[in-house]
């Protein structure tokens, strides 16, 4: 990725990615994100933040209802990005990838909703899920201002960043924090999908760079 494209990707995805990467920290559901919010009682040992996490942000845990909302929001956010890319994307592989995001994340969300419904878990909004939704919206707004190759590259770069961060969040926060065994299993089942999407996005990113 060249410097300008990299900068674009980071700019486009920063709000949503920071929400996932670090927003799980001390996520008390306070929309204002007060700095002195407290971690969930009896929480496991803190997990180191991913590279690039702002200083002072300490990952902690999230509750099962919050995880449910994060999963649903993360899937819906990426699915919405796919819908935009289907409309504005130009490269055939970008459009194929976008369709895959819509289909796969839609399928995962159906599975997630079915599970939490059966478990009687009511998804609970948190700073993370709210920031994910807001960040996704901002990303789509910025992508909507691009066209042609610029859109294709911006979208794919954002997808690489997004899936890298989601993968990290699954590994370091969501799976370790999940208390319900079936919810934890769902996250473990979702992980390979995110990994595959990441590898697919990276392959397309490389192809687009080669086409420059």
């Amino acid at each position: 990725m060249n410097r300008s494209t990299r900068t674009l990707a980071l700019a486009l995805t920063a709000p949503a990615l920071l929400a996932l990467a670090a927003g799980c920290a001390k996520d008390d559901g306070n929309a204002n994100g007060s700095a002195d919010s407290t971690a969930v009682a009896a929480a496991p040992a803190p997990i180191p933040p991913p590279p690039g996490t702002p200083p002072g942000v300490q990952p902690s845990t999230v509750t099962d209802p919050q995880i449910a909302a994060i999963v649903v929001t993360a899937n819906a956010t990426d699915s919405a990005g796919g819908v935009l890319a289907l409309e504005k994307g130009t490269h055939a592989r970008v459009k194929e990838f976008a369709q895959r995001m819509v289909t796969d994340h839609g399928g995962v969300n159906q599975q997630a909703v079915a599970l939490v419904t059966r478990l009687g878990v009511t998804p609970e909004e948190s700073n993370t899920s709210r920031q994910l939704a807001q960040g996704g919206q901002q990303t789509r707004q910025q992508l909507a201002g691009l066209s042609g190759n610029g859109f294709d590259r911006g979208y794919i770069d954002a997808e690489v960043e997004y899936h890298e961060t989601v993968l990290h969040a699954i590994d370091t926060t969501l799976i370790p924090s999940a208390q319900n065994a079936e919810l934890k299993a769902l996250l473990q089942q979702v992980r390979p999908a995110i990994q595959a999407h990441l590898e697919m996005a990276k392959a397309i990113q490389k192809e687009l760079q080669g086409a420059q």
């Binding site: 399928g107 599975q111 089942q189 992980r191 390979p192 999908a193 595959a196 697919m200 392959a203």
Partner: protein, 107 residues
């Protein structure tokens, strides 16, 4: 006249005469967590492959050389294909190219 007790032996011998042609086998290949299980399956022409998708998203099983294709396998569904004369080789998911597996020649 053939003794009654000898008849089963003759029948077995007659059936053995057809032993050159193995009976087609049925192989179940699960798709779970974006992996084909088993990743390598020994098959013969005429065998039946049943791909069972246990993921929440659709997949395919598509020969690398395009010789065969299950088409879309929706979540929690299955699709069947019969191994052709030159059916061995690699295959992948057309939707998720990172998913690959192989059919090998059974001995």
């Amino acid at each position: 006249m053939i003794p009654r007790l000898a008849r089963p032996a003759l029948l077995a011998a007659a059936l053995a005469g057809c032993a050159g042609a193995e009976r087609p086998a049925r192989h179940e290949i699960a798709i779970q967590a974006f992996v084909y299980q088993p990743a390598s399956a020994p098959v013969r022409p005429g065998d039946t492959l049943v791909f069972v998708n246990r993921d929440a998203v659709p997949h395919t099983a598509t020969a690398a050389d395009g010789a065969w294709d299950t088409g879309d396998i929706p979540a929690n569904a299955s699709r069947t294909v019969v191994v052709g004369e030159n059916g061995v080789g690699g295959y992948k998911c057309a939707y998720h190219p990172t998913m690959t597996a192989t059919l090998t020649q059974a001995r």
